[in-house]
Symmetry: C3
Subunit: 345 residues, 3 copies
């Protein structure tokens, strides 16, 4: 597939500077681009590399001088790069049928062009929207509902009655709707509280490899529209996660916690149960949220406090032995002063 620079500029909401008829057939980095490729200058520091790049044209940020090649000027070259990459992407062609070796239960409603690969299992009373792709090893328990344009990669499991929206991608091995971790003490032993709720994954969510989203005890664990979850993340039962959040790898959120919209959790963050995190909150890597967090804050630490304070504390912590020595020296000096003063008095 080829597109002219003019066509691409239209798709990217950008402005061509130079020859809009140039034919583009791919996108690559400054170093690796070849003739026919579009490349991109995300960081003006690398402007000097543009001249020597073999690329046929360049995506540049608005206002950066055009460096001797035809260009598309855009507001956000990184986003424009992503969109161009998507445009030239050859998506895998799925056959759009249930293949031999797949299991499909009773009373399954299927949309158009659904692909069920060999070794996938679809339980009874499941609903699948249009263009759903179930890779090998996917297991949908009974009464699961899946929207349109959903891809469930190999060995994803969705347990009974859970519901998945449109344009959701779940990466290999993720588990949606496993039992929440709930027990009541019964003397020395633990009595299992049946987990009869469900999980709802809203539209445009992406869930990383081997992550686990537990079903609610009674009600719903919810992942809000557009939220992106990385690998090996744990969301416990009854959590309600807002829209357009980003959770990096190995994040863990304990039960019944509510997270607002546009919340960013860096890698290995933990949040305790039963707290409320506001909107537009950013938590630094490896931090622990142990109480409610208001809107619009940046927190770090175990437990977390304002990130700018954490930076200062982090600089001081390795020097605690020195601080303690200084205090001990002061104690000695004060004893000496006390003696001197006593001798003067």
């Amino acid at each position: 597939m080829e597109k002219s620079l003019d066509e691409l500029a239209g798709l990217l909401d950008g402005t061509v500077i130079g020859d809009g008829n140039i034919r583009i057939s791919g996108i690559s980095s400054l170093d690796k681009a070849k003739a026919g490729d579009l490349t991109f200058l995300a960081n003006p520091r690398y402007a000097s590399k543009v001249a020597s790049s073999l690329a046929s044209a360049v995506l540049i940020p608005k206002g950066v001088p055009c460096p001797g090649k035809s260009c598309i000027e855009v507001a956000n070259p990184y986003l424009a790069f992503a969109k161009t990459l998507t445009c030239f992407l050859e998506s895998p062609a799925h056959p759009g049928v249930v293949l031999e070796g797949a299991h499909v239960g009773k009373n399954v409603r299927m949309g158009k062009d659904v692909t069920v690969y060999p070794g996938a299992y679809v339980g009874n009373d499941v609903t699948l929207g249009d263009r759903v792709v179930l890779y090998p090893g996917v297991v949908l328990y009974d009464m699961v509902a899946v929207g349109n344009d959903v891809t469930l990669h190999a060995n994803v499991c969705v347990r009974e009655r859970c519901r998945i929206g449109n344009r959701v991608i779940v990466h290999p091995g993720a588990v949606i709707g496993g039992d929440g971790f709930g027990y009541a003490p019964d003397g020395a032993q633990w009595y299992k509280i049946p987990q009869v709720g469900i999980v709802i994954i809203e539209d445009d969510v992406e869930i990383g490899s081997n992550s686990t989203i537990d079903r609610a005890a009674l009600d719903v664990t919810r992942i809000g529209r557009g939220t992106k979850i990385d690998n090996l993340v744990m969301v416990a039962h009854n959590c309600v996660i807002g829209e357009d959040c980003v959770f990096a790898g190995q994040v863990g959120i304990a039960g019944s916690t509510r997270v607002g919209n546009h919340v960013t959790l860096a890698g290995q963050v933990g949040i305790v149960g039963h707290v409320k995190v506001g909107n537009n909150v950013t938590i630094g890597a490896k931090s622990a949220i142990a109480s409610d967090a208001p809107d619009n804050v940046q927190l770090s630490g175990i437990p977390a406090y304002p990130h700018k304070d954490w930076l200062k504390v982090s600089a001081i912590t390795p020097r605690l032995p020195e601080l303690r020595k200084n205090v001990a020296a002061l104690e000695k000096k004060i004893r000496e002063l006390e003696e001197k003063i006593a001798s003067l008095a």
Copy 2:
């Protein structure tokens, strides 16, 4: 299914106050209960909501005044709630046979009413007790032994020779008996130590989604009776875990560590290898246990120390910059005092 309030009180070891003939068909929260439901008052703060609830009866703690509805008075309403929920639960009906599309190897001994779903794999010389359920994608390697009333959810893997007790539940994607992580240095490279031991999962254990319990190098990795393990937990080779423990999500325990009975590990806790943790120990979230811990302690921190000290330290840590400033101010004042004293002498 319906039960009278009297019947339920019998099951729950409680006392009816009011009309024991009321018919109950389900259980729900104060807010969501409808006619025919039992509801529960776990927290006396919400007593005022009881009158307006549509529930037909209420579980109440002993000694709390009965709020104008028929009640069952119980010692622990949360436990009673869990038991009632279990009582009304419609468990999935399994066909109790090996379904088409399942693989069962040679010399497999099976109890009564065993269900093997399509896509499950049972190796040779495996033993399965009564009423075992193997969901799609479950893989049992050769010579695995499984007790009665065990449910292995989708894509669970149990490797060769591992043994699972009675009434065990393993959630989707968990791995029992993967190789322990053992290598001997051989010059610059690592020589793999064959992991020829096994895992034994005792009765009434529950293991969360995508958790991994490694087989021992030579001997046994053991999870004690009644212990409950959440998602994405790692128990390394040769660990011996006691009874009735609770390990929250993303806990990791390194090799050859021994954990006592009734030990609670909060989320993301790590324990180093080759240590011994006593009975009735509680470790705070994200903490690291780096040495032996005696019985009956509560620890937090990296590395961990008494939890009540950790609370104080956590309050001080964000104010370290202030502490350092105070020390610097003292140093200045002492220099001034020294000068003054020198001038006086």
Copy 3:
């Protein structure tokens, strides 16, 4: 299988002291060894147990006095133990064919003695070397390439075009080549950056249960020769990991980070994205690497600093409340001194 002590000494590059004709049929610990077994004395502390062991012979470190049994003297008894264990190991016998119930796609090239178990799925245009074993539930997407003597355990997923070297072992549930976690902000929402790169796993690598190695955005995520990765580890897109590294359980490495050779990461370590870690670096458990690390350092802490300093800081931290009290006491004393001096002047 039996070997004479002389034969074993040859294999282990050791020296027999005593009767080289003794027949050995297994290896076990001092306590559990029976007649016919070799045992090993890794720690001279246990020398007194040798006499009472039922073992027929003992592996001893060079220079340790021979304790009344025939011995093989070796440089590294732990390594010799591992090699002897391997020598007596009965590896599972695989049939070396594609079994019924396995799916093999079009245009798959297979070496000699390849075993594909029921329920494994091999996509189109896949290449498998000699003696590859694919356990049930393994899913290889299209165009995957696998070298010789590779074992992929149950439910391992390798996504399209990823390449796996020779003698690689991947444990159950691990995911190779899942999408990297890359999004460009597009107003309030996140635009997915297609992840069109691959993963290359070099020779002699081992990857633990349920670990995830993400494919690169454009290029290659690489795990270097001989590196050993434990369970539930996350390696993000575009990372380049060196040779002979050891990553313990639940380690997480963010995107585009480069790790040198012989790097040891203890359990639950995190490394941020876009940094460079040198060769022969050791990072303590639960630590966070937030910036470049040079060769030959030992670091701990969040964020990390030299391990020997961390040990000191860790000893002081629990006593911060005391330090703060001491500083407050000093402040009081200084005020008193100031008053006294004022009265003297």
